[in-house]
């Protein structure tokens, strides 16, 4: 069975297929009773080794809207420390007969590890975020949000601001936007750039403000304070001053541009609270689109159409 571990697993055609199904499922979500019976009798498990509210809820709802049974497994740090190995957890899950696993883990490659050990089973794995590696469903919902607005990715200019080096959202976003034909720009201090970033084929802007009027979409990344052993920031004050999007920045942006953020926002860090009122700020639309996108992914993986 096919898995969704990385944006690299998807062709351009796959991505548009996911968008197509997502827009159909959006219709379902708008119904008074927003459920279809497509996956009755199927069971998926969300296996979250890292705390998450919206991603786990979004997957859970996506499954339930398709009439799939969804079981949520959450691990507190202490229970991981008690030491059941990943492989043991997986073997236990197999005995419980689930059909799909949605996994989030603080270590890169864990979804790939599970998929590798499920080679002979008819169970799919969806990567819901692995360490600093990837978060493909977030990238798909980001791209879908842009797609709904522009209907065409060619030559769209997208700016991503924040910790490019440690953000799994940025990693997957860059992969999907480039695959779809966008021009990708990043802005951050050098300490947030990966080494050999020139191989990423993106444009680095030390100061994005000069070019703000060029972009069709600006994505601000969450400052991942929890992901670092020590502080990568001089101060929140200076970060906000240099990389935070404020009202005056919005004024320089195109009238039809989008301002996005994967959430949860640290207000007055990545974004000023006042930008939420602007209609170009589509953070909450992203959340809605996320459910539709995840329904499409789960559905298509079950149908083996990816």
């Amino acid at each position: 069975m096919k898995h969704l571990l990385s944006i690299n697993d998807l062709s351009e055609k796959d991505i548009y297929k996911i968008f197509d199904y997502a827009s159909q499922f959006e219709e379902v979500l708008k119904r008074p009773i927003p459920v279809v019976p497509s996956l009755r009798g199927k069971t998926i498990l969300t296996l979250f080794y890292e705390p998450s509210t919206r991603t786990q809820t979004s997957f859970t709802l996506a499954g339930k809207r398709l009439s799939c049974d969804v079981i949520n497994f959450s691990f507190s740090t202490s229970s991981i420390l008690k030491g059941e190995s990943l492989l043991d957890t997986l073997k236990n899950i197999l005995k419980m007969k689930v059909d799909g696993i949605i996994v989030r883990h603080s270590v890169a490659g864990v979804p790939h590890f599970l998929a590798h050990h499920l080679e002979k089973e008819n169970i799919f794995v969806i990567n819901a975020g692995d360490g600093i590696n990837e978060h493909p469903t977030q990238a798909l919902l980001d791209a879908y949000t842009i797609y709904k607005k522009f209907k065409d990715f060619n030559n769209l200019k997208i700016l991503i601001i924040g910790d490019i080096k440690h953000s799994r959202v940025a990693h997957s976003d860059i992969l999907i936007f480039k695959k779809l034909g966008c021009k990708v720009f990043v802005s951050c201090p050098y300490s947030f750039l990966p080494v050999e970033f020139e191989k990423m084929d993106v444009v680095y802007l030390p100061d994005f403000r000069e070019k703000l009027s060029d972009f069709d979409c600006v994505i601000a990344l969450r400052v991942q304070k929890e992901r670092h052993n020590f502080s990568y920031l001089s101060s929140i004050r200076e970060y906000h001053l240099l990389y935070g999007i404020k009202k005056e920045d919005l004024n320089k942006m195109k009238k039809n541009a989008l301002l996005m953020h994967p959430g949860p926002v640290n207000w007055e860090v990545e974004l000023s609270y006042e930008v939420l009122k602007d209609e170009r700020c589509v953070i909450l639309d992203q959340v809605f689109n996320g459910v539709a996108i995840r329904m499409a992914i789960i559905f298509l993986l079950f149908q083996e159409k990816l």
Binding site: V107, G109, H112, F113, N133, H171, V195, F197
Partner: protein, 430 residues
């Protein structure tokens, strides 16, 4: 693997002796009587009592010396024991091995050294040369009793795996060890900079794994050689893996700084590009680097800048390796593949002659340790490797002698095969 006591007379027929002194190959017969070389010459006539082993086309050379084996004893006998580790050494052509002190507890007192040597004598497959800790508990703070350690049998000191971060402590280690003429084996790694699991590059970014900058090795290699030369003490650098380190070492050598260094076969046969699908059998420390690093290592081997090739044999349980990439331990087993990989990559591809290769496996390691080579000559104990350069050999799982099987070279087909090893009045067949 079969182990037998030598017959009273064993006659090796038609072998090709690799003479390391004269740098020539000669076809000879070798007669071994009760474990000792009785006669070396062409066409030794067969007598009744002789057991004959026809080794046509096979190379004969002295047992290899490994400068870098993790034997896991004491403390982690679930991963490797002295018995399985020394047997794996023999299977790889090594008759003398150094074991590193990062055991549990670490080898920081003479009783552990005495224990290891006594334990090895029980099996008596090969010679064991323990390397003791440079500092107590390998903490990089207080130096150990080098006199007592050496008296018990330690041949060098090292905090392998835990580089001494304080330059002042390192200076003290080097000055004190000089008193007893013990070389210091340096694991060059600036731990504070090296907070990752693979080489830092575009590939580490693509895989989302935390990267270790290659300069973390270079910086400490440079520092350690400078300090050792400042106090005029012997230093040996372990498992050199990066181009930048080589460049700095080349500069130091040109300026008459004294040091020796080694690399391991995976640094001239694999690169970071081989790390596919988060396979933890490619997780080693120092991490695999780029094509250009691999080429530079080979160049340095050709130049003679790198003195020795060591296995960095690091056994780990399947249960430890078969987990996520961050948490899986560093290291792969290497005793059994070390020479085969080197022969294939260096001799068959024209980087080194067989004589130059054996210098890196025998002559130079012996010099670094200050030990005698048991040469293949009349009246010496037979300590002989019989290597067939023309045979193919598939290193399948059932062939693995080590207690652990963590190697990226499983099921690889090698050009060349170690057919037998004669040592300590025993013959080992494979």
């Amino acid at each position: 693997m079969k182990i037998e006591n030598l017959p009273e007379y064993l006659l090796l027929k038609n072998g090709i002796l690799i003479d390391l002194d004269k740098k020539e190959k000669r076809e000879v017969d070798i007669l071994i009587k009760e474990g000792k070389i009785e006669k070396i010459s062409k066409g030794i006539e067969k007598k009744d009592k002789f057991i004959i082993l026809d080794i046509k086309d096979c190379y004969i050379f002295p047992g290899l010396i490994d400068l870098h084996t993790h034997l896991r004893t004491p403390g982690r006998e679930d991963e490797e024991t002295i018995e399985t580790g020394t047997k794996a050494a023999i299977a790889g052509g090594f008759t003398k091995i150094c074991c590193l002190p990062n055991t549990e507890p670490p080898l920081d007192n003479e009783s552990l050294i005495t224990y290891l040597i006594a334990e090895n004598k029980k099996y008596n497959y090969c010679d064991l040369y323990p390397i003791a800790c440079a500092t107590k508990r390998r903490e990089g703070k207080e130096i150990c009793d080098y006199y007592l350690l050496k008296k018990a049998g330690a041949v060098a000191i090292s905090d392998d795996g835990a580089a001494i971060s304080s330059s002042q402590v390192l200076r003290l280690v080097l000055e004190y060890s000089k008193t007893f003429d013990l070389p210091y084996f340096s694991h060059c790694e600036d731990k504070e900079l090296a907070q990752g699991v693979i080489n830092e590059s575009f590939i580490s970014y693509q895989l989302g794994l935390r990267g270790i900058p290659d300069i973390s090795e270079t910086i400490f290699a440079f520092r350690d050689v400078l300090i050792a030369n400042y106090v005029k003490s012997k230093i040996h650098l372990c498992h050199i893996s990066s181009k930048k380190t080589i460049q700095i070492l080349r500069f130091l050598k040109e300026n008459n700084y004294q040091f020796t260094c080694e690399t391991a076969p995976h640094y001239f046969t694999l690169t970071e590009k081989d790390i596919k699908n988060y396979d933890t059998n490619y997780k080693v420390n120092p991490p695999l680097k780029k094509e250009e690093d691999k080429e530079e290592i080979k160049k340095a081997l050709r130049e003679g800048l790198i003195d020795a090739i060591a296995s960095d044999h690091a056994p780990h349980l399947l249960a430890e390796k078969e987990q996520d990439f961050e948490n899986a331990p560093f290291g792969i087993i290497g005793l059994e593949t070390c020479f085969l990989l080197s022969y294939e990559e260096l001799v068959l591809k024209g980087n080194l002659t067989i004589f130059e290769l054996l210098e890196k496996f025998i002559t130079n390691p012996a010099k670094i340790l200050g030990i005698e080579i048991n040469k293949i000559k009349e009246n010496n104990e037979a300590e002989i490797v019989i290597f067939s350069p023309k045979e193919k050999y598939i290193y399948s799982e059932d062939k693995v002698v080590s207690k652990s099987k963590n190697t990226p070279f499983l099921n690889k087909e090698f050009s060349g095969r170690i057919k037998a090893v004669i040592n300590k009045n025993k013959i080992f067949y494979f």
